[in-house]
């Protein structure tokens, strides 16, 4: 190799070796201290060296390099950077290239300098940035969740304060919220709205605060006059929640107002039909009826789920939105899980929940 080239490689912190056979290489350039550090002992130019076993990384690289060397037309192959620790315990970054040149199989090993450090700095900065962004997003998520939990707690406390019934603030309404959120999720709602229905659905019966106790708590079947007073809870609830700009309360109003509407238009209070009924209310109607059927009430035992589903299936397309009902049926394993998770103690239920009569 000409002297100028010899010193050029030295300046470039590169050693060039020519492959002799599977294990042996001749060092074509001058040796360097960092290269000698890789070897069991110091070496000099023109020396034949065995490189296998000196570095697990290089051993692995030779697998692919051998393919390059066995095909004179193959493209050069670069190992990518790797880090070795030298005899002084310092980390040095190296890179190897397998090249075919004028019928010779060459191995170049380069000590990476400034360009590598530059690359490290850029990557470091980019990853730090990503980390900061991730942390900020996580923080926003955490704060939003806190706000959501506060909203939920305020809603539950208001429900409790309204004194509708103990159980309205308990397991039943929490389950309605969870079932509704699960259905909304399956329907492809975005996370914000899913969280909202989880909190808004429990308020569906808030209007019962305006129904006299003798009707609300009557353990027997209501007269038709009493029943029509009872039906007023939907409108009372809607009025209580009306006129707000807060999306959660707007949704809660829709649900309170429309959760007794029926898909076929024969529900109350307005006799809305089909997609005129807000989707949130169509979801809650299914969740509410299911929960009432599978739990014990003062006027009925808990129905086996299969029986409840049979009753409800008969009402799909008349009482319930058939598409949402199909989604609900597919979700039954998840719905059961929620039921298991939020168990109730005793629940009396009010006559409005006499769904077997309603259905």
């Amino acid at each position: 190799m000409p002297d100028t080239l010899f010193s050029l490689y030295s300046t470039l912190q590169t050693v060039v070796l020519e492959r002799q056979d599977d294990t042996r290489f001749i060092l074509l350039t001058e040796s360097t201290p960092w290269f000698c550090d890789l070897l069991p002992k110091a070496c000099v130019a023109r020396e034949t060296l065995v490189l296998q076993g000196i570095s697990p990384f290089l051993d692995n690289f030779f697998f692919d390099a051998n393919e390059v060397w066995s095909d004179q037309n193959a493209e050069p192959l670069c190992s990518g950077p790797w880090v070795e620790v030298n005899s002084e315990g310092m980390e040095i970054a190296l890179q190897a290239d397998a090249i075919n040149q004028a019928g010779k199989c060459l191995l170049l090993i380069q000590k990476l300098g400034q360009s590598y450090e530059h690359q490290v700095n850029i990557l470091q900065a980019a990853r730090q940035n990503l980390l900061t962004r991730e942390h900020l997003e996580a923080e926003i998520h955490k704060r939003t969740e806190q706000i959501r939990l506060r909203e939920e707690e305020i809603a539950m406390r208001l429900l409790a304060a309204s004194g509708v019934r103990d159980e309205e603030t308990g397991a039943h309404v929490r389950r309605i919220g969870m079932y509704s959120a699960a259905i909304a999720d399956s329907l492809g709602w975005d996370q914000l709205n899913i969280d909202e229905i989880r909190v808004a659905a429990p308020m569906h019966d808030i209007g019962k605060i305006g129904i006299p106790d003798n009707i609300l708590l009557k353990p027997a079947k209501l007269t038709s006059e009493e029943y029509s007073i009872m039906q007023g809870h939907a409108e009372i609830g809607a009025n209580m929640l009306d006129g707000s700009d807060i999306p959660l309360l707007i949704m809660a109003r829709d649900i309170a107002y429309c959760h007794h509407e029926r898909w076929d238009g024969r529900g109350y209070p307005r006799g809305l039909a089909g997609s005129d009924i807000p989707e949130s209310a169509r979801i809650v109607a299914i969740a509410d009826v299911y929960d009432a059927l599978v739990h014990q009430r003062i006027y009925k035992p808990a129905f086996p789920e299969a029986h409840a589903i049979e009753l409800m299936t008969n009402q799909s397309g008349s009482y319930f939105d058939p598409d949402i009902f199909s989604v609900f049926i597919e979700l039954l394993p998840e719905i059961r899980r929620i039921r298991e998770e939020i168990r109730e103690n005793a629940y009396s239920g009010t006559p409005d929940d006499h769904y077997p009569y309603v259905l």
Binding site: S55, P56, F57, P81, W82, E91, L123, Q124, R127, E134
Partner: protein, 174 residues
Amino acid sequence: MIQKKICMVGTFAVGKTSLVRRYVSSLFSEKYLTTVGVKIDKKTLTVDNEEVMLMLWDLAGEDEFCEIRPSYVRGSSGYLLVCDGTRKMSFEDAICLHGKISGILGDIPFVMAINKHDLKDDWALSDSDVQKLKAQGWQVVLTSAKTGEGVEQAFKLLAEQIMKQNNTPQREYS
């Protein structure tokens, strides 16, 4: 002595380098220095009265800037899948990376290390996240490269699995 190649796999900044450093040198640093390229460390341990030298390949974390090269993981007998318990995203990335790596290496032993368990106040994973993986038969260890919690255990579990598996396609450096 038997030598086995193990890869550290996980997205950036989850603590791959820190876990290796804690395991090999009992050291930890708060400073983040991203790994560019590959660094290989060694550690010997005894499994069932047999000495094994683990060759720990610390790979650059995969992200939008870097992809794991199949040639780097070739010959691995197992891998430690690392995520950061304070970053939910890194957990999902780890599951996704497991899919990629097993696509390259096939069904070989691995252990999931959910790292930074010392940062409990910032923990972003729920019990059910972890339970779901365990239900699929994954070995999951909560680790902290900072305190040393679970670190020996994670590598030991992996080494034991590797030694149990005698029909793994593997390359030995001995």
